[in-house]
Symmetry: C2
């Protein structure tokens, strides 16, 4: 019997210690901790890893500090387009949404796609129509508005043209967990890249790229410059390195994050959990908002530091 | 020095020999042959595999017999939503579009996304806006209309509810090639499942699921019940089975199509080419529109028969 474990992230990127005044970082640690506890409680009470990861990700989506759900960044046309995915490692069932604009918790819609739609991937207005058919109401624009995100967007529009450059241009939230019955699940949600062109889909909702779960190997959720994670099929590559090459989860994650993604010019990070409940957080950026809690008593939230 | 080879498909599914009157099948063979020749000519003249696969797929998109481009099936709301992707195996660069409604050749737009957008995956109106910015004009609804597709749709609406059941409910076109310099490329394009709900994205534009290319291993394009190919990350799985487990292309394709996809309840097929120019066509359905041509003189088009 392994541990039950949840690992979460709130995005990776150019997070410099110089940005680290306590006024700013304490609420981030607190948000990570709340999400971690919400997910861990599910596991500890014997609930499913799928419930745990959706609970944790929904908590991060509800927190305007993170780029997902309520805190999603503005796209080039001044609105929000969100992507999310969930996957369960026993049946390999999964659900994903892309380009939804008014959904409070895209991760819950992704789960509904998995469980109720007969499809796995819905986008745009079709995804929102499905949401209203099954009783998930839309939020207003004002729910997703914050002065800070607006100012960030104005700053980026003035200064930067390349959607991959600049401070905190990408952010994502995610969770992976293994429960007491050995089910592995993964979930990822994002507002995408700030000032992205409308219609751009990142790696988060692409099964195998930003999100993957397989009880035989691991659960993975990625964050970073999504285009490189799609080209690398990063999350599934970790699973295949374990299944076919016999690498440990940690070695497989390190191979992808420190060798494969950088060889293409990309940056970012990922969290992972294996069937024994070992959790890892790996990134090649200056920081990654992250946290882990398991049944051995391990409990950490971190932002900077060695990956 | 290996062969230069192109392999194409025009969809797999419930294609019964009883459907095989010559009036119907001859034009299919002819369409496959035209696409094959268009792509092979590029290879034979020393052109790139990327040009070859986009040329071949565009030819199939222009042929109203196949479910992609002009011949795309109707969705639940009575219009067309098309998906496509391309990938090149040297740089792992790729481009994909989902849910475009008025693009004559989605495969060419996917290529433009790869080469001109700075992103890899664009959907819906954003993808069409990108198309008009770079000078790809939209087609009218009438370009995509055919009496036969309309009647098919009416039939399906009357009889079937499950989007995976029934005759020829899915179809896709694709091509994989290796050129004289050893570049492998893949391309896939589809109108998706007939009567699909708006916004549904299949495996074709999902890099790693329906489309993948890597010079170190293979190029793959899939067709079938797309949800199962997404859950299996089917195209990338073939590549990983080769790279990490040392399987041949043929054995890896057979593992995925005859073991992994059916174990989830799915059906379909895929075409593949390796760096030596060996091409394979594998399917677990009753037929797959397919063809292969290589520099050894091999030239075939087939619909039924042993995979």
């Amino acid at each position: 019997m392994g541990l039950h474990t949840i690992v979460i992230h709130g995005g990776a990127g150019v997070i410099q210690p110089s940005m680290g005044n306590r006024d700013r970082l304490d609420p981030c640690h607190q948000g990570l901790r709340e999400a971690l506890d919400a997910g861990f409680l599910v596991l500890d009470q014997g609930g499913s890893a799928l419930d745990a990861v959706t609970r944790a990700v929904a908590s991060l989506e509800d927190n305007s500090l993170f780029n997902a759900g309520r805190g999603s960044v503005f796209n080039e046309n001044g609105y929000h387009e969100m992507d999310a995915a969930v996957m369960r490692g026993d049946s390999l069932k999964c659900g994903a949404v892309a380009g939804v604009t008014h959904i409070r918790n895209p991760v819950l819609l992704a789960r509904a796609v998995m469980e109720q739609s007969g499809n796995v991937f819905l986008s745009g207005k079709g995804a929102e129509d499905f949401a209203s058919r099954i009783g998930i109401p839309g939020e207003t624009d004002s729910y997703f508005y914050s002065r800070e995100r607006w100012n960030q967007w104005q700053e980026v529009r003035k200064v930067h043209q390349d959607p991959g450059k600049g401070p905190e241009r990408f952010g994502t939230v995610g969770a992976v967990a293994v429960d007491q019955k050995g089910l592995i699940a993964s979930a990822t949600s994002t507002g995408g890249m700030i000032n992205k062109i409308p219609g751009r889909i990142g790696d988060s909702p692409v099964i195998g790229a930003g999100t993957y779960a397989n009880n035989a190997t691991c659960g993975i959720s990625c964050t970073g410059y999504g285009e490189f994670f799609i080209r690398s099929v990063a999350a599934h590559d970790v699973s295949c390195l374990m299944e076919y090459s016999g690498l440990s989860l940690q070695d497989a994650m390190r191979r992808v994050i420190f060798e494969k993604i950088p060889s293409l010019g990309g940056s970012g990070g990922m969290i992972g959990v294996d069937a024994q409940g070992r959790g890892y957080m790996v990134f090649n950026t200056q920081g990654m908002y992250r946290g882990i809690r398991d049944s051995s008593g391990r409990l950490e939230t971190s932002i900077f530091g060695d990956p």
